[in-house]
Amino acid sequence: MSTGQGAPDLRVGIDLVRVSEVGASVGRFGTRYVERIFTDHELECCRTGRGVDRSPSFEASLAARFAAKEAALKVLRPVGPRPAWRDLEVRRDGAGRTGLRLSGRAAVLAERAGLESLTVHLTHQEPLSAAVAVGVCHPGGDPHDRSRTGTECPTRTGGGER
């Protein structure tokens, strides 16, 4: 983590989403909403069954993921067009730990910011879901020159979902 150019830039993003608002969106827009905002992996992690789930746990989990995307955006600090929602994907491993995978414009923004790691924590308890994202950025921008121009940003999966 030592850069030789001063202390890393620590960025924190937080967001709070009312679960009922996500439920209302699922009810109003159905698959247009969920498929525009969430990836297949995210939906798979949230679903308790097939199709558009209307269970409270599904909606709370979606709300937490929306909050995570917003929290990550606050770390990335986009100027101009924002990344597509699906460019910020909450990944969950077999142990239930969460991380963020960035692609497309989100990955470009991460590269410009010199993002070295990004950690996310999700939580939900009715009526709210929340997420905190913490990013460590290399002072002065991209620490890896242009060699990391890819579709994935480094993630740290030390977070979790409660």
């Binding site: 989403v17 009312r18 996500v22």
Partner: protein, 85 residues
Amino acid sequence: MTVDETIRKILAEQARLETDPQSIDEHGDLFDAGMTSHASVNVMLALEEEFDFEFPESMLKRSTFESIAAIRAGVLEVTGQPGPG
């Protein structure tokens, strides 16, 4: 119904503003008026449904949805309709 009337109707249904959308100045900041990021997604989806188009990624930015005038400009740009007046 004009484009502006449709936008205000959608805002009334989806934006969860603290103020009546009918009384908001067309340049007034909708986020300052209480629209959350999540609510702006609903506004976006409702606009796409109403005007039968999809916002390109280049327009998915806060400024596209920050005011009635900005939304109108975005809708007219995507649909290719001439602006008011």
